[in-house]
């Protein structure tokens, strides 16, 4: 997948790139409006990460440009403005999703994949990993051909793990993914622990491999090399 990161903070753009490169994405960085404009006209991208506040222009204008030029791409808006209304404006202007700074990298990745699934793999809503298969439309999880009785949160959690497989997922990142960051410190990690525990139990009951392992002090990891 080819990704264009439009972001004025170089450290931030590099962090995102370093993270996504490991997923064998091809990443390019544009640090200002004109550079982004030029890249958009010259190359094609599967996904654009767009920071709304740019030193030489408003990111929303780039969004309008993408719309009027009918560029075939997905746009994920990144904003430091935690204005709830900006979120709506961004989505109304044709963005596919919206994420607020500061965010967790696995969360960003999950969002990119979600948009990609929704827009590019028409009708194919299956996320498959070995014996586990998830249908993102029906929210059904199947392990070894057996339907797994998972709650909505457990489904989200499993999908998050598979999308970010072999990544260390911190408890904060999981909590933010499951409950959002709207609430004042609800991210009580006991809940994360409970969810992970239940999920592992259910996969185990379906004779699936226990891919999820604990990373001491930090959180969890979906270990693809587990047996």
């Amino acid at each position: 997948m080819k990704v264009l990161i439009i972001e004025d903070s170089n450290e931030m753009a590099c962090s995102v790139r370093d993270f996504l490169v490991r997923e064998s994405y091809i990443c390019e960085i544009a640090s200002n409006f004109s550079e982004a404009e030029e890249k958009l006209f010259r190359f094609q991208y599967d996904c654009i990460l767009l920071d709304i506040m740019l030193p030489d222009g408003n990111g929303l204008n780039l969004l309008k440009l993408i719309k009027t030029e009918q560029l075939q791409t997905n746009v994920l808006v990144i904003s430091a403005k935690n204005g709830l209304d900006d979120k709506v404006t961004g989505l109304e202007e044709g963005a596919d999703d919206y994420i607020t700074k500061p965010f967790h990298l696995p969360e960003l990745h999950a969002r990119i994949r979600a948009i990609y699934r929704r827009k590019n793999l028409n009708g194919n809503n299956l996320v498959q990993f070995n014996e586990i298969s998830l249908n993102t439309n029906t929210l059904g999880a199947v392990v070894n051909g057996r339907i797994l009785d998972v709650t909505r949160k457990e489904f989200d959690l499993l999908l998050y793990f598979i999308v970010n497989k072999d990544r260390v997922l911190s408890r904060q990142s999981i909590a933010a993914h499951l409950w959002g960051d709207y609430t004042d410190d609800l991210a009580n990690f006991d809940f994360v622990y409970q969810h992970v525990k239940n999920l592992r139990k259910k996969i185990g009951a379906a004779r699936g491999t226990d891919y999820i392992c604990t990373v001491y002090g930090i959180g969890y990891k979906f270990n693809t090399s587990a047996t």
Partner: protein
């Protein structure tokens, strides 16, 4: 009382005082003038009579048609050559009392002393008064009617710049960031007022703009470095690290999380205070509350909390949808977080109010103080203590009445809604639109 009425009253008081004094002065001056004129005339008559006596002309008892009394004095001449006496007497043969002036002159004629006396009638004081009275009444009718008419007309003209200023102030909204336009005037007081108001509002607008800029900049400038730190830590966590380092990374991450949450909450509070979310549309509140409770279902189960719902259907509240979501999230997550093990939560929604009750430890500060920023019922809790301040602010800008009480081991938050005008609900499409913009706290990444 209207300013013009106050002025009018003052002028009337002054006019009244002047009238009283001037009436007294007029009365006495006219009266003394008349008396003096009569006395002068009588003196002249006495003199004429004396001249006649002196020249030896036979005289009768009347001079110029007036009766004159002449008396030969045996006593020496008194010091005063003339005496004037005023008395009330009646005409001969008339019952009516008249005011009579009698003037006696003592004159030496041909070495003999004579007393020559004559009298005349003058107009009575009461009659004089009646005449003046009529003048006063007419004068007052004229003054009153002229003041009443002119005051209204003139005040309209004179006070018009003032009224325009008032209107401009009334229509002034700092959020429009537009400077106040005041009418030009040549009245000094209004000029002063206008320049004062102008300076004040200009300053307010400038401050507001800079505050807004600061808010936005602060939010943006702080979130980016925090985001970078978080990402770098995540990248670091994936490298080969020791257990000790892992713990340190987690601690730093938790602090960063708190920092960014405090920052974004404060920015949100500022924006609420600036009334930036003023789109009040009818919000399908009962639906929203059911969705929110569903969202927290699993958390409730994990904490083994029992939930009792009493939700009236068809409740619409005039509320910004995003703020409504925020309000419910904060209240319900609070009720979950500050609950005891195996406790309960009661949620009741009626057309008038939303009541959320939950079991929990007794707060060690008065419940009303819990609405303040960074006030926590339990200082050891991990929360930053800003959720209720946001709830309070949302209630304030929507003019909801919020109360927090603690009794019988139950925390109760009651939000009384402002009455919603059902006319709002004429267009069903507007309701659908408002629902479609509701953002759930977690957008499933599917």
């Amino acid at each position: 009382m209207k300013l013009i009425n106050k002025f009018t009253l003052w002028y009337l008081c002054i006019a009244l005082t002047c009238t009283v004094f001037s009436t007294v002065i007029t009365f006495y001056s006219i009266k003394s003038k008349m008396d003096n004129a009569a006395i002068d005339r009588l003196l002249t008559i006495n003199q004429i009579a004396a001249d006649k006596i002196r020249s030896g002309i036979l005289w009768d008892s009347s001079v110029l048609g007036r009766k004159v009394q002449v008396q030969l004095l045996n006593t020496p001449m008194p010091d005063k050559k003339t005496t004037v006496s005023k008395s009330e007497s009646s005409y001969p043969g008339s019952q009516k009392k008249e005011y009579r002036i009698t003037v006696s002159s003592f004159l030496p004629i041909n070495n003999k002393n004579y007393k020559i006396t004559s009298f005349g009638y003058v107009i009575q004081s009461e009659h004089l008064l009646t005449g003046i009275e009529m003048t006063i009444i007419w004068k007052w009718i004229l003054i009153l009617s002229l003041i009443a008419i002119s005051a209204r007309l003139v005040s309209k003209i004179i006070l018009s710049p003032f009224k325009e200023t008032l209107k401009a102030i009334e229509l002034f909204n700092i959020r429009h960031k537009k400077k106040l336009q005041l009418p030009a005037t040549n009245t000094r007081e209004f000029k002063e007022l206008n320049s004062f108001v102008q300076a004040m509002t200009d300053k307010a607008v400038d401050e507001y703009v800079s505050l807004k800029e600061f808010t936005e900049n602060a939010s943006h400038e702080l979130q980016t470095p925090v985001a970078v730190m978080k990402m770098k830590l995540e990248l670091l966590a994936e490298s080969a690290i020791t257990d000790e380092q892992a713990l340190i990374i987690t601690e730093v991450q938790e602090s960063l999380e708190k920092l960014s949450r405090i920052n974004s909450s404060l920015v949100l509070l500022t924006r609420l205070e600036n009334h930036e979310y003023s789109t009040h549309e009818p919000l399908h509140f009962c639906k929203l509350i059911n969705e929110t409770l569903d969202f927290y279902k699993e958390l409730l189960e994990m904490k083994s909390l029992s939930l009792t719902k009493k939700i009236t259907s068809g409740v619409y509240v005039s509320l910004n949808p995003m703020l409504g979501q925020l309000l419910l999230n904060n209240l319900i997550s609070n009720a979950i977080r500050h609950n005891t093990g195996a406790g309960r939560i009661d949620v009741e929604l009626t057309h008038e109010a939303l009541i959320i009750k939950n079991t929990g430890a007794e707060p060690n500060v008065p419940t009303s103080e819990l609405f303040q920023r960074f006030k926590k019922g339990n200082q050891s809790s991990k929360s930053i203590g800003i959720g209720l301040a946001i709830v309070k602010q949302i209630c304030d800008i929507h003019q909801f009445d919020i109360r927090y009480t603690y009794s019988n081991r139950m925390h109760t938050i009651r939000i009384g809604f402002k009455e919603i005008n059902t006319n709002f609900l004429v267009s069903p499409t507007s309701i659908i639109n408002s629902e479609s913009t509701v953002l759930m706290p977690v957008e499933p990444s599917l």
